[in-house]
Amino acid sequence: MEGGTTAPGTELPLVVRDLRVEYGEKVAVRELSLEVRPGEVYGLLGSNGAGKSSTMRCVVGLIRPKHGSVQVFGFDPGLDPVLVKQRVGYVPETPLLFDALTPWEFLEFIANVRGLGVDWATQRALGYADALQVRAELNQPIATLSMGTKQKFLLIAAFLHQPRLLVLDEPFNNLDPRSVRIMKELIGQYVQDGRRGVLFSTHTMEVAQQLCHRVGILDHGVLKGEGDVATLRANLARGDATLEEIFLRLTDEEEGVRAAVRSLGGG
């Protein structure tokens, strides 16, 4: 449903080049480069504070990088913020919304600022609300909802306009297993038309392994490894490694984990 034109010759949903994000003296992301290709779910993995959320905020234009570039279907979020935001559906890490609105009022606002047809948007919103079992909460103020329910409405808002790029920052936080399953299926189907892309961050290696076509492993703002699981296994010369083992090896945390368990194990 999103409109607008695509810059000629740039069909990639997302291209990030040499991205650097700083908070005062702290460097959150160091010269990061990655691409999300059409029809791909790209998983950004990393420990807490690895720079995943900062990267995603740059992609949707919430913060400006110190240097480097971001292109969403050829458009720069800094130069063409509206064109980028029309093409993106975003779920932030924390569901902090308009507490004083009801989800229905919130979704109506989203539909209006995105210029969606009201009948079409109403049907989509109700369909998602039924699927995620939150229809009864549509008329309650968001302040009174649980974190999981708020997260569901954020997901509905992100999917509402059928964006060409989904940027999902820990989207399954607080969700019940049923909803996680539904969303995993939906995200998998979402890119099957071969035009859309998904940038996805998670701490859960199982989810990443099931859902992502490729993953990038971030550690202290640096991309330590990238590719599909088979490629990463091959690079590490460990054909049977799980994604969790690959992650720990690439972030040099294997020994750290063992040491932590040893020191705390007796306690």
């Binding site: 005062g24 932030p92 004083a100 009201v118």
Partner: protein, 559 residues
Amino acid sequence: MSWTLARRLAERGYRELTFQAIYAYRQGNLASTVASEQLVARARRRVLESKVLVAGVFGVISLGSILILSPSVEHVFGGGMPRGLYVGAVVSALLLLDLVLLWWMGLQVLPTFLASGIGSCFETLPVDPTTLDRAALIMFLRLFDVPAGTMLILTPLAIGIALGSPIAALALVPAVLTVIVFALLFSLKASQFFVERVQGSGGGGQRTAARWAFLVAWSVPAFSIYGFLALSGDFLGWLSGLANQGSLGALYAVFTVFPMSFAMLPVYAAGLPIIGVNATDVYGPVVAIAASVAYLALFVAAAGWLAQAPRRLYLTTMPASVNATGASIAFVRRSRPMAVLVKDLRIASRTPPFALLVILPLLDALAVGVFTFVSTPVSRDVFRVGVAAVSTAALLATFFGPAFFAIEVIGYSYTRALPVAPRSLLVGKVLLVACVYLAAAGVVLALTAARLFSPALFAAFAAAELPAIVAAAMVEFGILIRRSERKGLQVVNLYASAWSAMLVAIPGLFIAGAPFVVFNLLSGATNWVALEAMALTSLIALSLALQFFIRIERPRGAA
């Protein structure tokens, strides 16, 4: 049970509270890229600046009373009434203003207190309930420390100076303490009511109407400022009449009413007469003291209630009604600016500080309208009433308008990812201010129609000023939008970055005020010519503001 531990907890809590008051991360504001240590220090400084600013307003009011109690001003307003009675009336007004302003500040501040979430953090600690009560109380009192402290020192001092009596100053101290405690009590009670009945209220037309009705009811104190100011002349005249008639019984009855009872204490302490020489005031001091003692008993009870109320407030849960949404519901199609406008009104309907921004100009219009009914002699000069009505509505809408921008802070870390161009945002906010102004003008028009039936003239005044209102709002919000793009969004209210709100309102007030200045300059000639000149000035202001609007960048893809 430990006051030391409570103070330590409150110190930590207050630091978080000031941080959230300015940066509102728990309300979804976008995280700053500035180092966090700088942010914490900056937040404390800005909150302190805002408190000093509000304290300055209290100071001006208190010290202004010295001028109002001077013989030359008394000669103008007192109308020959006994000095004691005049002083009592002025001190009453002063106490009432202090009460209302502190209550109003409380309504602005307490949502920040609740949104900081600090209370729920303390509840998980292994600390006894009494210490938690005390910590919450200390944090709560720190919200008001500088303004309330200023009031406590300057109000008695000013009255003492005006009356040349240190004893009169001391006699007023219990009154100011009572005013402070009552104001805090009303703020807490109102906030508790909002949490229980307003903020958790679901969607739908009936519920929205009920919420606005509650909000209007709780805004009456603010209305009482205008009511009191509008009726003060009549009140003084009435008191003067009682004194001249020697109606001591009626005067004693007035002395039992809060805050008049307290206001009479410095009068009697300074030995000022309340009645002409032909009568003797024997029981006045007894009545005033007895009534004051009764109010002091209420003060003690209120103070006891206050000791536990702040913690009770943040433990209050918001009730949620489960109402299955039927299949017939459908989104309503709106343009982007209208979507912003409706969103703001919906948020205001569940958020008292924002609701007040809508309600105050309307209540003010109501006061002006009612004033035309009660004023004596009746002003038959329709132009004069028209200017008064339209100018107050215009200036209030322009002054409070910028505070609507603070709504954008809520959920900003999400909403900034939406394709809303700055121009759409600006047009939405300007529409909101214009709607508030037109509604206020409509209230005056409706009320005055019964007394001074001249709808065409009132409509002409409202229409003549409208372009200037739009221009003023355009400039104010334009400045705020540009500033937010450079420095990030900030909460702006009486407690947080109040300077920003004041500064940005100054150009707006000049623009909105210019047409009235032109009208007043030319009204000596012909009123209709002056009105035409007013409209022309207003249109010029709009055309200049449009130049500013055009310079706001329109991103590609923006509708």
